[in-house]
Amino acid sequence: MSDMLTIARDTKAWACYDCGKCTANCPLTRAGAAYSPRKHVLATNLGHQEMVAGQGTLFDCLTCKLCDARCPVGVEYTQLVLKLRELSFREGTEVECPHGGALQSAMRIMAQGKTQQDRLAWLDDDLQTVPDKGEVFFWTGCTMFYDAFFPEFEMATLEGTKAAVKLLNHLGITPVVSPDERCCGHDLLWNGDVKSFQALARHNVKLVADSGAELLVVSCAECLRTWKVDYAEFFEGAMPRIVHLSELLAERLDELHFAGEGETRKVTYQDPCRLGRHLGIYDEPRAVLEAVPGAEFTEMRRSGSGALCCAGGTWSNCDRYAKKLQVERLREARATGAELLVTACPKCQVHFRCAMNDPNLKDDIQIEMRDLAELALEGLA
C-alpha cells in the first residue's frame, strides 16, 4: 500500500480530478481496448494494487505519453506505469512478450555481461571510427539485432546506423563506436526489470565516461530517452552532452553542404514517442528533412505532440489493438501522398514493417520506410 501511495505522490496522481481526458485520448482505448488510464490513476490513489497489476492491464500501455501531453493537471501517467511495472515485476509478474521473451533474454544476456558481443561486423572501411577513446561517442543502439531477428520484415535498420556514422565523418568527426556497447536497457526498464537495467546502465555509463567523450550522439530515440532521463542518476561527475543525431545535424546544417538536385519526392515524418513527447524534440528532425534537396516534406494529420505512436514501445504490448493503430497510422502516412515515411527510431520501423506484412492490407498500407540519417546522407550525394 505504501508503495502505491509513494508512486501516487511522485507522479502527481493525487492532482487527478477524474476528468477522463487521458482515457478519451488513449490510442488503445480509442482502438477499442478495455483500457483506462483514468482508472489506473484512481486505483493508485486508493492504493488498490490488484486493480492495476498483472497481465492485461498495466503491461498494455504503449507508454506513448499522449495522455500526459493532454492531462490538464499534469499527472505523469507514463511515469506511473513505469513505477507500477517495477512494482509488479518485483512481485513476480513478467510481461508477456509477443516474441516469447527472446528479446528480453538477449537483453538479459547482455546485462550479465559475460560474453564479448560481435556487434560491429557491419563496420566497413568506408566508415571511420575508433573503438575506445575520442571526443565524440556514437551510440549505435541495437539495430544489428533487429536486422538479424526480423528477416521476415526485410529490416534494414543498420543502414540508418551506417548512414549516421557517414554523416558524422562528413562533419569531420571520427566517432567512438565501441564493441563493448550493450543494450541501453530501455525495454527491460519499461518491463519493470530494474536490476538488469541497472547493470546495463552502470556498464554503459562507465564505457562512455572512460572514452573521455564530451559529446554523445545517439541515433535511436529510445536509447536517447534512456541516456538523457534514466541514466542521469548513474553519472558520477560530469555528464557528456547528449544529443540526438538530428539535433547535431540541425545545428550544423550549413556544414553539411547538401548538394545535388535529387529526384523530388514527398516525404512524411513519424514522430517517435521517445523523441517527441518524451524529450520534446520536434523541430530538429523537421529542419533536417526540409533541408534535404528533393525531399518535399508534408505533415501527417496528427503530428508533433499529437502524433500517433508505433504502438509497440517496449516489447510488451503487441496485440490486435496495436496492429489496428499501426494500420491507421500507415494509412495516415499514405494519405499525405508521401512515397517515403521517415522516422528517427528503429523500433518504429520494426513495428510498421510488421504491420505492412498483413497480406490482406498489403497494398493499402505499403510505404517505403527509412531512417532520417539515410535520407540526410542521400542529400549529400
Partner: protein, 166 residues
C-alpha cells in the same frame, strides 16, 4: 528436482575426475527426434548422458526465445532437432524451424556466444543410431568449448553484482 540438484547429480557421474561434463538442452519434436531418442534407448545404445531433452509437438514450435532462454539460464549447448524435410507431421513445420534457427543463430553470434554451442539436426524416428551419434558428437564439441560464459554455476555471483537473476 531443482536445477542445482540435477547438476550435482550430473557432475557426480564417474566420467573420470578431470573431465568436465556440459549441460545440454535438446529440443526434440514429438514425431521424429523424440521417437529417435526412444529408438536409441530401446536399442540400448550407449551415448553421452549430459543432456536434458524437452519434447515439443513440432520443431516449428522451437522459437528463438526457447534457445535464448536456455543460454540465458546457463545451458552450455542447445541442440534443436526435428524431422527430415518432407517428413514433418505438420508438412512444413521443420521448414519454419530452419528459418527460425537461422535467425536464432545470428542473434546468438551477435551476443558473443560461440556458434558451436548451438546446433540443428534432423533425426527421424528410425534413426536411433544417428541420435546417439549426434549426441556424442555434440557433447564432445561443447565439452571442447568448455563451460558457457553465462554458466549456471556462476549465476549467483552475478546476481550479487546486481545483474539479471530472473
Amino acid at each position: 528436482m531443482t536445477d542445482a540438484a540435477t547438476s550435482s547429480k550430473a557432475e557426480a557421474k564417474p566420467a573420470g575426475k578431470a573431465q568436465w561434463n556440459p549441460r545440454i538442452v535438446v529440443f526434440a519434436c514429438n514425431w521424429c527426434s523424440y521417437a529417435g531418442a526412444d529408438t536409441a534407448g530401446i536399442s540400448r545404445l550407449e551415448h553421452e548422458p549430459h543432456f536434458r531433452i524437452i519434447r515439443v509437438m513440432c520443431s516449428g514450435r522451437i522459437q528463438p526465445d526457447f534457445v535464448l532462454k536456455a543460454f540465458e539460464k546457463g545451458a552450455d549447448g542447445v541442440l534443436v532437432s526435428g524431422c527430415h524435410f518432407g517428413d514433418c507431421h505438420y508438412v512444413f513445420g521443420n521448414h519454419r524451424a530452419a528459418e527460425m534457427f537461422e535467425k536464432t543463430m545470428k542473434t546468438v553470434k551477435l551476443l558473443g556466444i560461440e556458434e558451436g554451442r548451438l546446433r540443428l539436426e534432423w533425426i527421424s524416428a528410425a534413426e536411433g543410431v544417428r541420435f546417439a551419434e549426434v549426441i556424442n558428437e555434440f557433447t564432445d564439441q561443447v565439452r571442447a568449448l568448455g563451460p558457457s560464459p553465462l554458466g549456471y554455476a556462476k549465476a549467483p555471483a552475478a546476481a550479487a553484482e546486481g545483474a539479471a537473476d530472473v
